[in-house]
């Protein structure tokens, strides 16, 4: 059985790895390789967001009664990241290296400060407040 913090944190790291691969390929001008890693990153990221927004956040909100607090801020930051992902796709399709690297740097910082909040506070709280946490995670990896 994997806990919420372990599983979700590992997913953050997976996203970082493929993101870094995509970014490095763009920096080298290898757009084909970049597109491959980028697609993988985007799929992982959006799946992760929907696992949180559709399952984990509602369960947490229900268990704690906190609807307007942390999960709301996390949802807003997801929106910010989604919008950066759209901009990055645009830069990718135009093969605009400068724009891509400027945006990727922005997304990286945005993503990491978001991850810190989740990993240090939100996930541990979920683990504490959601007795069914391990089952939820099992359903994700199924």
């Amino acid at each position: 059985m994997t806990s919420i913090p372990d599983y979700m944190t590992a997913k953050h790291r997976d996203c970082d790895e493929v993101f870094t691969l995509a970014e490095a390929s763009v920096a080298k001008g290898n757009w084909e390789l970049a597109a491959e890693s980028w697609q993988q990153f985007k799929d992982e990221l959006l799946t992760h967001f929907s696992q949180e927004e559709d399952t984990l956040f509602p369960a947490f909100e229900q268990a704690t009664g906190m609807t307007g607090g942390p999960t709301q801020v996390m949802r807003m930051e997801h929106q910010q990241m989604r919008s950066l992902v759209t901009d990055l796709e645009q830069a990718m399709s135009e093969q605009n290296k400068d724009s891509f690297l400027g945006l990727s740097e922005t997304l990286m910082v945005m993503m990491q400060q978001h991850n810190m909040k989740e990993e240090m506070m939100l996930y541990p709280m979920m683990a504490k407040n959601l007795p069914q946490g391990d089952e939820i995670i099992a359903s994700f990896s199924a």
């Binding site: 970082d16 970014e23 490095a24 724009s99 690297l101 740097e105 922005t106 945005m110």
Partner: protein, 427 residues
């Protein structure tokens, strides 16, 4: 871990950290002025009044100024909540810290009792209010991270440094709260450099380096034991200075090596000036920690530079100031971006106007600042050996501060221009 109060307080208003950041290069410029007008004699002793003005210009006007500004942003991320009532706290502390540091520098330069009294009052209020606000956040059990204890101990160190600083100033004015030995001054300096600034940087590095640069986590034993060990060594150094200092330098050397290793293992290797600042800082820390162990007699036989002066220069200028500048290069464009983007969440159309981080801060400009910082630092080392070179150091430092100021002004003006555009688009 309590749930109440956790908010991730999206972001403090941008003008609050900005007001701290923008003052820092002005204090650096003022330091260059102090060096220029004080001439060669400044470098003769650490107890020169103008040397005290210079050191406090760097430590209070630059380092503490930026750190207090950055904490406004870091606390919600690392501790889960920000300072309560950030606007009054930040505005009050910022204004009084700026004025207090100016009075203190002038008070040292002209040895004026009235200026020293006002510096004491202003700094006590500025730091007292900010420390109280920090304690209010940090006593809550919110975060699971390894950094939170570092923040707590750094805040406690700042409190110690402030109280000792006030007592030392009072002693200068004839009020004997503390014994007349250099011991208190040494404790004040050591707790400021190693406790307040040093511990805070170590705590931040545990989070920032692995995450922003996709590097492995710091080893668990480092994350758990390094900061408490440094803190114990700091306490030890009060009664046993030689032993305490040796322990601190040994621990710093370990940290520097682990930091260099973690940075080396990073997977994200796109060119990045911030990481080069971190590497420079780690190398300087390693060097200063190792040089510490050269016995004084051997040192004096072969080296023309005063040992303490060189170690402090390496630690303060090449370690602390490098890392603070490197972090500024990340924080300034990121804050600008994220504030503008949040405004656009209700008006997605306006998103197109927002520049990305590299458009806020041209990477080349960051690199130039990095090279200027290295040149200034090397000149500082030269001045310690040949004080007659002081003017070259002053000019280089002035150029560095102007460079940093120009970078900040460009980011801030772009921020305000785009902000206006977004408001117009909303109409």
């Amino acid at each position: 871990m309590k749930l109440t109060g956790l908010s991730f307080d999206a972001l403090p208003p941008i003008d609050l950290p900005f007001r701290f950041f923008i003052c820092a290069p002005f204090f650096m410029l003022l330091c260059a002025g102090v060096i220029l007008v004080s001439g060669e004699s400044l470098w003769l002793s650490r107890w020169q009044p103008s040397m005290l003005a210079l050191i406090h210009g760097f430590t209070l006007g630059f380092l503490t100024m930026v750190m207090l500004g950055a904490l406004l942003q870091l606390l919600p991320v690392i501790a889960g909540i920000g300072i309560v009532k950030p606007r009054p706290v930040a505005c009050f502390s910022h204004a009084l810290l700026s004025l207090g540091t100016l009075s203190l520098m002038a008070g040292f330069m002209y040895f004026d009792a009235l200026l020293i009294y006002s510096a004491m009052l202003l700094l006590a209020l500025a730091l007292g209010v900010y420390i109280a606000a920090l304690i209010w956040v940090l006593i809550k059990k919110l975060s699971q991270g390894d950094s939170i204890w570092g923040f707590r101990l750094a805040t406690f160190s700042l409190l110690v440094v402030t109280l000792l600083g006030l007592a030392l100033l009072a002693r200068n004015l004839g009020v004997e709260w503390i014994p007349t030995t250099k011991m208190v001054t040494n404790v004040h300096a050591l707790w400021g450099l190693t406790g307040w600034a040093g511990i805070l940087i170590i705590a931040v590095s545990f989070q920032v380096i692995p995450m922003f640069h996709v590097a492995p986590a710091f080893p668990l034993w480092v994350r758990r034991f390094l900061i408490p060990a440094i803190f114990i060594a700091l306490i030890l150094s009060i009664a046993f200075p030689t032993l305490g200092l040796a322990a601190i330098n040994g621990l710093h050397a370990i940290f520097a090596l682990v930091l260099l290793f973690v940075i080396h293992q990073r997977k994200r290797k796109v060119p990045d000036t911030s990481i080069r600042y971190w590497q420079l800082g780690a190398l300087a820390l390693l060097l200063s920690s190792l040089l510490f162990f050269i016995p004084e007699t051997l040192w004096n036989r072969y080296l023309a530079v005063n040992k303490t002066h060189l170690l402090v220069a390496l630690f303060l200028f090449f370690y602390l100031m490098s890392i603070i500048q490197g972090m500024l290069l990340k924080i300034l464009p990121f804050l600008s971006y994220t504030h503008l983007q949040q405004r656009c969440l209700i008006n997605f159309e306006a998103m197109q106007y927002i520049p990305n981080m590299h458009e806020f801060l041209n990477k080349k400009h960051g690199q130039w600042l990095f090279y200027l910082h290295i040149i200034s630092g090397l000149l500082l080392i030269f001045v310690l050996a040949w004080p007659s070179l002081y003017a070259a150091f002053a000019v280089s430092l002035a150029l560095e501060s102007i460079g940093l100021l120009a970078i900040m002004l460009k980011i801030m003006s772009l921020y305000f221009a785009v902000n206006t555009k977004i408001s117009q688009a909303a109409k």
